[in-house]
Symmetry: C2
Subunit: 344 residues, 2 copies
DNA sequence: GTGAAAGCGCTAACAA
DNA sequence: TTGTTAGCGCTTTCAC
């Protein structure tokens, strides 16, 4: 490759020191208009462009943040990432994205004392395979914001909606529609299933709040929150001697899978079975039927996460870890309300 | 931040030169077993970890590749990205992802002589707003692989399926089902719509091959390939005095939008109107009805793109730009074949 | 097989 | 306001 034009070359041509050129290039400090112009001209004449790698080393920062999610092709994450990238760009940061496939080792590599540490100035992380303990054993110098699962240990920020309240609200909506046998799909009663457990709790709370008892056998566990999980769980439910008349799904993908199963059997939604989802992904507003769902404010989550992370990066004494509650709301669509006469 | 442990510190403790430590750390060259061990111990004792930033500068490479797509939340891209990340990881590369929102300026910034040039060793790029000309005015030193749209100018590789053939095949499938009035949704008759135009060509070729003439007024243009575009275009078609009995959609999202419109009007798929899509995204196999589609081999595309890019990065004399044809196949589902008796 | 030392190109403390 | 210069921490040529 051709020899690169360096700061020194520019300095020489412009007849100034490299320090001055650096100042001009970075828009720093006080530089005489005359000098600035002279430098500018030299820059253009030589086609100089700063070497990011050198700058990174000298500054000890990379100008990049990493966003780590379990699966990129989960619509919830890809929709969220979109907003994260935009927010980071505004803050002058590039975004390095990685997916972990939920592999604990891979996840740990990101937040532990690793050789990649300096590659990013901070990490926004949506863990899946790591339990709370593993989150605590991390590089303490790494600015970190956690999304979704888990809760803050006081040393990082955590951004997410109130799962318990949201799930309770979803379940109450089904109860309000007069449903009697409500199933839940997505429970994960083990260390890494915190988020799922919070949803189950909300589900039970809603029942208890009305003096009802949730039926154990209608709470179905799934390893993940994908379409296939929803389809399988729903098939199981439909095979019961007395199938449910409503289902609360822990994600919209699960709901879409469940809907597929229901429709395949020739049953009607919501007449025979009402379905509600979680996440408000775009698919849910175009499917047949469209899906009633809990809609977390993704824009708020993304913006807040980036904001807090940049703050952490900028501070030399790390701010206290916050528990940040994103707004959410219930969006009622066909899967519980039925087709409205003039739907289009 | 605490003072970092450097190579020199390790060398001092181990009583060797920094050169030797570097050799050990990188698994280079010939180092005596004894020396290696001594160094290894020092590394552990001090908790040394190499500084990626310094290494990058010294080597003049970043160990990162960028993947640039128009929209991250388009399932086709997020599914593809997933495979790209995996393939890159195997090759020892990190993936920096960016989305351009189809903005030509933003796109140009990535392939032009920019200050971010050194941040990635190569780029896999799926352009949307740039025409062929703009692609040619790029940093000639940048290893580049283009996905999807456009064709190679001989200086970069292009990976994609044969759009004309695939579209022809899709259309012929509809003709084979006895459809008479076939519409096409997604044409883009302007400079940046090459891919769309190739699909339109295939659509027309299929008709001509059977001695038929495609009807101009059934070829609908859309600005993008999203659900909303499909829904709107379909509504328009349904308002025609004589609506089509089949639609070829230029993406699965368009198909899903179209399906939504059709179902909303109480029409049946495929009895009244058959629908075929393009891309084979997961949604299409869980929707009601499931979507017949053209399925590009995404794994092949991702693997090949990464492979070629790494090859380009490694070569000092750039290899010739190749036009690489990914395999594709037609997947027949309910939107053209109807519900099979024992569907589940 | 190992050591010495010269970069890589930029930033920023210190001086002038 | 501008110049001088010492790093940033690693790689790598060249000599031993």
């Amino acid at each position: 490759m051709r020899r690169e034009v360096t700061l020194r070359d520019v300095a020489e041509l412009a007849g100034v020191s490299s320090r001055t050129v650096s100042n001009v290039v970075n828009g720093y400090a006080n530089v005489t208009e005359r000098t600035r112009e002279r430098v500018q001209r030299a820059v253009e004449e030589l086609g100089y462009r700063p070497n990011v790698l050198a700058r990174n080393l000298a500054q000890g920062r990379s100008g990049q943040i990493a966003v780590v999610v379990p699966y990129l092709d989960t619509p919830y994450f890809s929709e969220l990432l979109q907003s994260v990238i935009r927010a980071a760009r505004v803050g002058g940061y590039n975004v390095l994205i990685d997916q972990t496939d939920g592999d604990p080792e891979h996840e740990r590599a990101f937040i532990a004392d690793g050789s990649r540490r300096l590659l990013f100035d901070g990490v926004i992380f949506s863990p899946l395979g790591l339990d709370q303990q593993a989150l605590t054993d991390r590089d303490p110098t790494l600015p970190l914001v956690i999304l979704g699962e888990r809760s803050s240990d006081g040393f990082f920020d955590h951004v997410g909606i109130d799962d318990v309240a949201a799930s309770r609200q979803a379940t109450e909506h089904l109860l309000d529609m007069g449903r009697q046998r409500i199933a839940a799909i997505g429970d994960q009663p083990y260390a890494t299933g915190e988020a799922a457990q919070r949803r189950t709790r909300g589900f039970c709370d809603a029942h208890k709040g009305r003096g009802l008892t949730p039926q154990e056998d209608l709470i179905i566990q799934t390893p993940r929150f994908n379409r296939i999980d929803g389809a399988q769980a729903m098939n199981h439910l439909l095979d019961l001697p007395e199938p449910p008349d409503a289902v609360f799904c822990y994600s919209d993908l699960v709901a879409l899978g469940a809907i597929r199963s229901i429709v395949s059997r020739g049953l009607r939604i919501p007449e025979d079975i009402a379905v509600i989802g979680y996440d408000d992904i775009e698919d849910g507003s175009y499917s047949n039927p469209t899906v009633t769902t809990i809609s977390p404010d993704k824009e708020w989550i993304a913006t807040t996460a980036v904001e807090r992370l940049l703050l952490r990066i900028a501070s030399d004494t790390p701010p206290p870890g916050l528990e940040l509650r994103a707004p959410h709301r219930l969006i009622v669509r066909e899967s519980t309300a039925g087709r409205t006469p003039d739907a289009r």
